[in-house]
């Protein structure tokens, strides 16, 4: 199904996903660069870039167990923060010079409470992210960003002027445009990348220095022009849900013959489907508006279920999707209730849906394969 050798950039992206401190980060640190981690796609990475620091989205790649963090969490807590804290307690996050969290969800906000008590990261902040997208919320979040700017400037002794923010916004927007370009190419009958490869591309964008990432994306787009394409798959799939940073999970799904052609994920299209509005004069207002109101919302933004449904519908139409795979981390209530609504609405709209629960570390590959296989058969039956 795959015709020619894969572009070299895909290997770099894939490597960046599989390890915590990838060679680019190691090189950055080796040059005396500093790294600010963050735990949610609501983080205005442009601010970190503007400060001359490296934004690094925290994951738990390579975590094999949770022996150290189990004492901190209960049995009904999500496995993602459990694995992330475990890695941190093992020293794997010692390379961070700072960390920014949000009240993203119950599990992550308690991760903050444990992090500040048990780890020595020099600069740790939790920001209050609204759950609505009205002007008052944009204004509130702008205030949060303004405080963060002051605190970062003071702690890291860096300048974060409006001009530097504008430059950083332009750089990140340019990368978003290239990522969208990749998505556009997946709309055709023969998409040039698999879903797993595409997820590696977007995840790597949260783990590599932005300038370097931008160059790699350029290279990838050029290489893909000459590269082969994927065809002959049994079905075109869309993956929807929240946190999913492991391309291997999509590989398991795709191993059964389906091809993931698009997504609605926090590490996927939600990161870049729209740009920060560069026409807004005040860059902090532009960032606040983007991260609270303009970008595609996740399940935490409670007033915007209709938009999320519409987003999935439009993806299904544009990418000629045969079926949606909804993936949820066990114990996630936000996406749990979303699943209830989506199940009813996608059924009403005639869009086939498969719901999968997962743990952060991929331990149920066999079960996923079986369920995806059955789903693909069901899709095949629909197509006659």
């Amino acid at each position: 199904m795959q015709t020619t050798a894969r572009p070299a950039a895909l290997r770099v992206f894939s490597d960046a996903c599989q390890t915590m401190v990838n060679p680019e980060v190691r090189h950055w640190k080796g040059q005396g660069g500093r790294v600010v981690g963050y735990f949610c796609s609501a983080m205005p990475v442009e601010m970190v870039t503007a400060a001359g620091l490296l934004p690094f989205r925290a994951r738990a790649a390579g975590s094999a167990g949770t022996e150290l963090s189990d004492a901190c969490f209960g049995s009904i807590n999500c496995s993602f923060p459990r694995h992330a804290l475990d890695l941190a307690l093992r020293g794997e996050y010692d390379f961070l010079d700072g960390l920014v969290l949000f009240n993203s969800c119950d599990h992550i906000r308690r991760l903050y409470d444990h992090w500040i008590r048990r780890l020595g990261t020099p600069f740790v902040r939790i920001l209050s992210l609204p759950r609505k997208d009205e002007p008052a919320q944009v204004e509130w979040f702008r205030g949060e960003l303004s405080l963060l700017r002051e605190q970062m400037q003071e702690h890291f002794r860096v300048g974060m002027t409006d001009d530097r923010l504008r430059e950083a916004i332009a750089l990140h927007n340019a990368s978003r445009r290239r990522q969208r370009d990749l998505y556009q190419r997946r709309k055709g009958i023969r998409p040039p990348v698999t879903g797993a490869e595409m997820l590696a591309v977007t995840v790597a964008g949260t783990a590599l220095p932005p300038q370097r990432y931008h160059q790699l994306l350029d290279g990838l787009l050029m290489d893909l022009d000459q590269s082969g394409a994927h065809s002959g798959r049994r079905a075109r799939l869309m993956v929807a849900g929240g946190e999913l940073d492991n391309p291997e999970y999509l590989e398991v799904i795709e191993s059964q013959g389906g091809l993931v052609v698009t997504d609605a994920l926090c590490f996927g299209s939600r990161l870049m489907w729209r740009d920060v509005d560069q026409a807004i004069d005040d860059p902090l207002t532009a960032l606040a508006r983007y991260y609270v109101a303009d970008r595609p919302p996740c399940a935490r933004m409670y007033t915007r279920y209709g938009e999320r449904l519409e987003y999935i519908q439009s993806m299904v139409r544009e990418f000629a999707v045969d079926g949606v795979v909804f993936v949820r981390l066990a114990f996630c209530e936000l996406w749990g209730f979303e699943q209830y609504s989506l199940t009813a609405d996608l059924r009403r709209l005639g869009i086939p849906l498969l719901c999968l629960d997962r743990e952060y570390s991929q331990t149920n590959a066999g079960q996923v394969r079986t369920r995806v296989q059955a789903f693909l058969e069901e899709l095949g039956d629909r197509h006659g």
Partner: protein, 455 residues
Amino acid sequence: MDEKKLKSVSRMKEEIAIFEPVLAALRADPGEMGHLQAYLIENLLDNHRRIISCVEEGTPFLASQYTNPVEILTAMDVPWYFHVQQQFAAGGTGGSVHTEEDLEEMDRLGIPSDCCTLLRLLLYYQAAGLLPIPAAYLALTEPCDGVAGLHAAFMNHPDWRDVPVFCPDPPYHDDPRAYGYYAGELKRMVEFITRHTGKALDMDRLKEVVAETNRGYELWFEYAYLRRAVPTPHSYVMPMSCFYILNTGGAGDPRHTQWYRGMVANAEARIRQTRPEVPHQKVRLLWYDIQPLFFGELVPWLEQEWGAVICMDMVSYCPYELIDTSSEDAMFLGLAKRALNHSPMIHQARGLAANAIEDITRIVRDYRIDCVVFPGHMGHKDMAATTSLAREACRELGVPFRYIGMDICDKRYTSVEEIKEKVSRFFAVMKPGELAREAWPSVRVPGDVSHRLPA
């Protein structure tokens, strides 16, 4: 009334039918505290009747949460109901006759079973048409993800999709900027209510209502202080279960204040006469997280089997402050602070884990607690991740700590018998409260309670 409307109030009518004979019995033989119990029931039933009447007559009413300042709704004279109340009845003492059937129907909805049962049940009630459809809906996104997720799903139901909704957005921080932001949200809530009910907010009336709730809160401090006495004057059941009822039942009612006054007077009398409601108290318990009332006979069992009295619990212990009524802005700021910081569960679960840990630490010290039981509801994911910090705090305080996972509405998760077994083993091993407490220290009851506010 059409069939749909009739069905929507059917559970309220059932509750009225169940409680009316209880009320009659209490009135006939009130005993020492029956009049206080009777008032709670009257209050609940009056609210039900008010909503039923709105549904029958087609007059506007709201569905809301106890954390959206009740003072504002009262001052605007807008009837409302707490749409999570039915679950409390379902999970409460003895459950309801429908509990088993409701849970089974709820399971069929297909919501992941690790999501909060209380909230899944609400979606079932909605799907089954058992909730009266309001003119407008005041939602909530705190204190937990389940609540935020639920409201998104709730608003998507075909019968509710067109109901106008407003949800104040609580910030995560506790500082003047956060309170100011939330006060703005509350003002926007008032505009919303006016737009959809035609009722305006009279500031003089709001001032009256807030002044009355201030009096109630002042008496609540007093009462909470009296429970520090050894032995503690009252059992857990009645006084500590009233908070929700009094607050969801409408703020600013002088009868509520009178109720608090009655509780204080009775507690004082018992202390003076060395006549605790629970005799032979051996263990002073802090019951943190969900209330034990959801497990029927648990409290009487604790008291009778082990002489264990719950001196304080999470829901009853909040850092109440009185509201400055000198200006509109001051009142809204105070209401914002009260909504964010003083509402049970919101205070403990909305913000940092430190809120809960500091509470536990203060309660253990102030109430001379022998041991802490942390009955973690399966929906309280944040609390589950707070438990280890609570355990550490208790270790430092030298107080035994026991976490027991349970489900507020579904006894299939952890049965009452299992809880009893775990508590018994805990008591047997840790031997809390072994020291006999024969002394009955005098408790000063000064008029000014401000010095007793938690720091």
